[in-house]
Symmetry: D3
Subunit: 237 residues, 6 copies
């Protein structure tokens, strides 16, 4: 039995609230069980410097992921937060996930930065950041459309993410902190609305895994992310 | 007429919510108008290193103030947030304010860190941090008392803070961002439950001021902070 | 009796010497008792970058305050000096104080940086920096006038600063290090030639204070700063 | 046809040379086509600090990956190399891969650091680092055994890694730089001697992929890594 | 008898190999006994920023010297490598040495950066870096000539370097690590093809020296560097 | 004719003043023409950490050299001062020079740090730092003797330093800034009271030099440093 008493393929309760920041062009507060992430989208009316220097066309989407000092059971110093390579790695993953569904030409010469600040961490923070960050991104894109700065929606489909793993020899979905810290193997899946995979990351440092196990987890993730995408659509209506 | 349509001595609506972080020993989400600050208190069951090295007795209270990147109208990079001397200065003020009402001997060999993370900024963030941070501090102290680690309440009175200033030649209370950015002179007051002043900071870079003007602002602040302390007491009951 | 054997409102001997640096456009070595600060003014014939980027007119005055490693009883490492938030806070105060008496339009598109390097510290270093820094500033402005780069004096009045505080329940002026480290409350006052206050900073972490006490200190500071301004005028003749 | 003229499942020529550093307890220079990585293993006769502080038993294996400034077509400054989050991410992957085949208790209270310095980069540097780093690790473990510091081999099986991806709609193995920079999707696989997967990382930012495609790549990687392990064994004889 | 069994004026075996990096415009792997340094030359088709800002003509040659973490008997952390002032000092020496034989006008508006990465250190790394770095520099200059970017060879003569010192009261040439760490005095000499001295650095912290001793070492160095220059010529043919 | 109108072997006027810092265990303000350096000696009643960790006996002498921001004709930012490799190199030279005349065993388990802060720079700052730093060192050693912490003078002879160089094809002594910046070759000499050389650094980036020229400069330096040592003795009486 999972510590959370959930069934193997049962996700935690999810909620997303938009308009939670009066300054940001888009914002979404996502909660997945005990995990809370504040996602804000900031529009910069310029290309990123590296694109301009290379005389490239189109825009860019980037992301920054960070924890508040007491998002976890033990406090982390702000210095350590800044130097945290894990956060930098997750920022890169979120950025790739969101860019995969955006047409950079249609975005025009604009840069959208998605800040994902983890208010409270209880497993699955990178996945919540992608799912909630997508909502903030869509709102920022609407702002660009509504203010007449772009004329075509550059977002061609939804994207969401979910974790899964092997825990006590059972394949389970959406691990919370307690499950994650005792799992034999854990994986994260970024999936598009069309059901294809954008990113698969699977690590079995304690317990190497078989191809078939990863396959099963991919199926579980495909189903779960469609539910998350359904929720994104409700929130964005 | 103030941009906020308030009367000169009228504060913005204030709310404080406790128990907003499942990991922290104390937490309080304070809102003053458009300003939102998340205050968490972390208890470390040790003295700070500098006290131990100097063979001192008793505990310590310290504070860290920081803005989320998009707490303001324009986004601030995380690098700039880390290097921000204004934040460091405010952290020192919050720490001094909270220490002024704590008996370090009664606190025992413990360190309490108050993290004040500004979720949304609209003027008066340092004052909200002190007022809300005090609530988180009291909750952390209760945790120490309830778990039998200390036996006497080291907090001997409440403390709260409010801003005030000279705007269009009128003395006004609790400036929001719009008022603050056009004020001739602005001041911050940290006041104890017993009505005495712990910190007075007043700057008239654009417009030097008279002793009598500062005196009037002190009176306004004394009244307003007693209202905030009343609210702290309700929330902590 | 004060450790320094001075009367409550008695300042320490003050001297200011100009022309102490052959390269700087203005320089002043100020001594207040055991406190020695070297103030140099550097003229940059450009606006600061942030003004230019915002298409603003006029110039700017900024200040940097720092201690030499052995300015104090214990040596401070250079790394710690660089990261010192107290120095950053004081730099900001000095800058604000000096800007308050300068007309930025009349200064033209120039930037003046006042470096205040504390050679020896014995209390009141920030106040000495403001008083001596003003002299260096005036000399740099004269250099701009004499070389024909500006045609109108942008400095509209003098400014000086002094510390005061509550020590052994007595209100005293111009605290030296020994007095400062045992004071119940200490304050710093920046006052203009016209007798108005530009900055009041008062902290009673150990001992909250009354409005009337701050009022008395303001009166003491107003008198003392006029004497310092008198001295500045003699030196600048 | 691949730019490298190789067949889809054809690896580049691989060589590994041991004993290439007179100081290191283990070393291996691995070449995979145009990619050259110098792997050195350093034995520290202590536990890592974090293990000691937590009163844990056993040892640790960690890795650091870095590029020389001119390992690539364009030179990278040393400052940028140090701040490179991609390198930090890869260091973490190498460390996890090598730890997955080491019994930390049998390693005793020792720390082995594997430095992977990329002399020349031409695609697949992280995989070459794992494959060559394993050889350096085994040599360092032998040094511990030969000097009588441990008495049991803590390495329970070999580990190797290979990249694969989707390029011009074809699944190919061991991408070189030219192929990698134009691939629709790329993946890295860390595989154990027993044929199980330790890490799967697959990204299709430009082109989401199907479960079946990842499955095919896993099969290709399983075959290729066994060949690499064969080579490791020859070199280590 | 020297630990290396060499005669006082005997150099260690030297080899230089060119074309060791497929990306760099020039490269040379130099070995002097147990010391191995990889020298790569990178051509930037621009002046350095500081020259452009000062409206200067001509190009520039600069160098960066660094050790790999395990180049020495004990591992050095990458953080410490970056902060290493000794490396910075040596980088400056290498740059000066190479610039002394280059006509900056004839080099045109190009910048050549010589990276000297010490793969294995066994004494004399700075001298090997200069001698090998010169070869990489010449190759980069040939690349500029061959691609028609410059039309005249800016290198007017060869340059090489050698160490020497006082060991057990005997003057010896080309100290290895063991000799260097027990020497009473050590010196480094940069000498041009025309037999003149470009840099002499001699330190007798443990044992002050006489003018005549330095003179003898200069003679030894003059002879040895001519042999190194002979070798450079062979390699560059 | 030299710009300073001095004869080739004529030094600038030199003065040294002791007791210029009330906190430091030793201090000396040295002026050589337009160059002014404040040297303070700080005694730490412990060995340096690295000596203690290696279980070594005896003490240590170290030095730190730094420029104030406006010590030169153009202002240097404090950030650049901290990162300045030239300063780090000079700090190492000063430390070596002073250690060469101190018996570390007789110094006991104490660390003396000599801070050399350049108040005004006009050529020869490193040499002035060594000459003045030696005086501060001797005073700190006397403090150790007078307070009974050591019982034997660990300083076995004086040390001083002077610059020299080739300027307009003439060998000249003690170059000021104007001469230094147009010299063909410049050198620094650290010489002991017994007339032997502790450090010789000679660079002819613009103009390689002959052995005989360096020899002549060494003779000039030997004479000049004896005069400086004479002055040190007068000041220390």
């Amino acid at each position: 039995m999972r510590p959370s008493l959930r069934k193997p393929t049962q996700m935690r309760p999810v909620s997303m609230e938009t308009g939670v920041n009066k300054w940001a062009e888009g914002s979404c507060l996502i909660k997945m069980g005990g995990t809370t992430v504040l996602c804000t989208a900031t529009v910069d009316l310029n290309q990123p410097t590296w694109k301009r220097l290379q005389n490239k066309t189109g825009g860019w989407v980037t992301a920054e992921y960070s924890m508040l000092p007491r998002a976890n059971a033990t406090r982390k110093t702000r210095d350590n937060i800044m130097k945290d390579h894990r956060s930098a790695e997750i920022s890169r993953i979120i950025g790739r996930a969101l860019r995969s569904v955006v047409d950079m030409e249609a975005l025009g010469r604009h840069t959208i930065t998605i800040d994902c600040d983890v208010i409270q961490a209880d497993g699955g923070t990178r996945c919540a950041s992608i799912t909630g960050g997508f909502v903030a991104l869509v709102l920022a894109v609407r702002w660009l459309l509504n203010t007449g700065r772009i004329h075509e929606n550059p977002v061609h489909e939804h994207v969401a993410a979910i974790s899964a793993g092997l825990w006590h020899n059972e394949l389970i979905l959406d691990l919370d902190y307690e499950e994650d810290s005792t799992a034999e193997m854990d994986a994260n899946f970024v999936v598009s609305e069309s059901g294809r995979f954008i990113e698969v990351q699977s690590t079995g440092e304690q317990h190497p895994f078989e191809k078939s196990q990863l396959g099963e987890l991919m199926d579980m993730a495909a189903t779960a992310t469609q539910k998350l995408i359904e929720l994104q659509k409700q929130v964005l209506e």
